[in-house]
Amino acid sequence: MGLEATMICIDNSEWMRNGDYSPSRFQAQADAINLICGAKTQSNPENTVGVLTMAGKGVRVLVTPTSDLGKILACLHGLDIGCEMNLTAGIQVAQLVLKHRQNKKQKQRIIVFAGSPINYEKKTLEAIGRKLKKSSVALDVVDFGESDDGKAEKLETLVAAVNNNDNSHIVHVSPGPNALSDVLISTPIFSGDGEGGSGFAAAAAAASAGGVSGFDFGVDPNLEPELALALRISMEEERARQEAAAKKAAEEAAKEEKGGEQASSSHDTTMSEAVNTSAVIADDKRQNLTDDEAALLEQALAMSMDGAKSSSVDMIDADMSDATTEDPELAYALKMSVQESAGDSSTHSGMSKVLEDQSFVSSVLNSLPGVDPNDPSLKDFLASLQDQSETQQKQKEDSPEKDGDK
């Protein structure tokens, strides 16, 4: 979503007592604001959100833009309903607040909840819109509540005057069984200009759809946004690292003939780290995975872990997955590895041997997310691996003979 400072303008006029949105218009508004604040702060931790009320005794700023979600939620309690909404003053004050934000690199955005009727002329609204556009402030309007003739049009002209490259939006919400917040989740107001808080929105939607914990990591983003964010980031980092490790492994195998000993040993540690942390992640994910997926994931993990264990074990067999389950072959492999380590292949760690094995590599690659086994570049690389492994086979045949002779 990018770095943004947002000011939310609440309508707390008398028209908000009406109950055509459940439980009351004002409550629905408050819920929607909660969700928006959460989405903004989650999509970028440096985003700030501020709140002001437009009705009551006058335009009043409740909280200046802050990234502290608790402060924002706290100020929504104990708000009074009364009088009429002053839209122009509200927008002007919001603009002023944004102008004096601490981090000047943040883009400016105003979100207006317009529930009461609008008494201004279209021209006035257009002028305000142009002023906002001049100062590069984006505007989102939620048109709900009263809908006398002209209100929707007026708000549309306002947003059209501000709109610069699709950064401003307007949403019309009519009364009905759906909560205001649910309707808003699917609008660009929530998802920002890009993909933005769609992850958050999806989680929130899953929650409101009722029942199943649709949260990614068993953590409610509403209750613990930082934890959910941290988990999500570490998950992505882990995934990136695994892919990088797999790629590096491929490169290692390619460079093996030149005796990349150091590279492969450091690679070993990377792989084992990746394996360990992926086991942790697997635990986290287990509760959310279906049985099939869990089984597949465990199998993949088992394969890679066995690969790490048997780095001292030479895998000559074509089928890596079968090897460890059959004891006699394992014994044979162990014997081979003992001979191997006595020989020159101590420079080539078992890990790189394992990775040479084409079928093992392809099975690992299949289990990695985001890797398409049909990718032509992958196929080329696998073909080259196969050539490698053939020459390696010949070398292996030579060295056991040599050792045997000794």
């Binding site: 102008k99 000047k104 142009r130 002023k131 556009k133 001049k134 100062s135 590069s136 005057a161 610069n164 490259n165």
Partner: protein, 176 residues
């Protein structure tokens, strides 16, 4: 290509485009299709097809921070005869101004561009006011024809640098 004074640089002055800190450059009320870079950057500004245009109304507010302290001597602002800028106010060392408070401060210099200036003849500034400039704000108030859109072909600034230490050249003395 207009054959007019395109590279007349006053004696002893340098073109300050090299000292502009591009990460902090801002321009309010520009159209996205005709941004400030068209008027400022080398190459873009000499291209007749690329220019800076205003969006909602005819005013433009440009903020240029510099990588080091400079003295500003003169400026060249070119544009089309009708829609080129007329009144231009310059503010030295004022950050983050908006259209609302731009008229609250007296400008360091105020220019009234003539059609000759728009063709490329440099305008000499009040050198005294621009001795120690870290950032420059250019406020284009209106244009020649008082139309709704102001178009600027090129903005070039000339001056000298005040000798400041370039931190990148500082090297640690090695112990032998």
């Amino acid at each position: 290509m207009a054959s007019v004074v395109s590279s007349v640089i006053p004696r002893g002055q340098v073109d300050l485009v090299d000292f502009v800190d591009w990460s902090g450059v801002e321009c309010l009320n520009q159209t996205t299709s005709h941004p400030l870079a068209n008027a400022l950057k080398q190459g873009y500004r000499d291209d007749d097809g690329l220019r800076l245009e205003s969006d909602a109304d005819e005013q433009l507010l440009i903020f240029l921070p510099f990588t080091q302290v400079i003295k500003l001597h003169s400026a060249v602002i070119t544009g089309p005869e009708e829609e080129g800028p007329k009144t231009v106010k310059l503010f030295a060392n004022k950050e983050h101004m908006g259209f609302s408070n731009v008229n609250d401060y007296p400008p360091s210099d105020s220019l009234n561009l003539s059609p000759d200036n728009l063709k490329g003849i440099p305008v000499t500034l009040k050198y005294v006011k621009f001795q120690n400039v870290r950032s420059l704000t250019i406020f284009i108030e209106d244009n020649q024809a008082d139309g709704d859109v102001t178009k600027v072909q090129k903005i070039a600034l000339f001056g000298t640098t005040v000798d400041t230490t370039n931190m990148k050249d500082l090297k640690k003395i090695e112990e032998h």
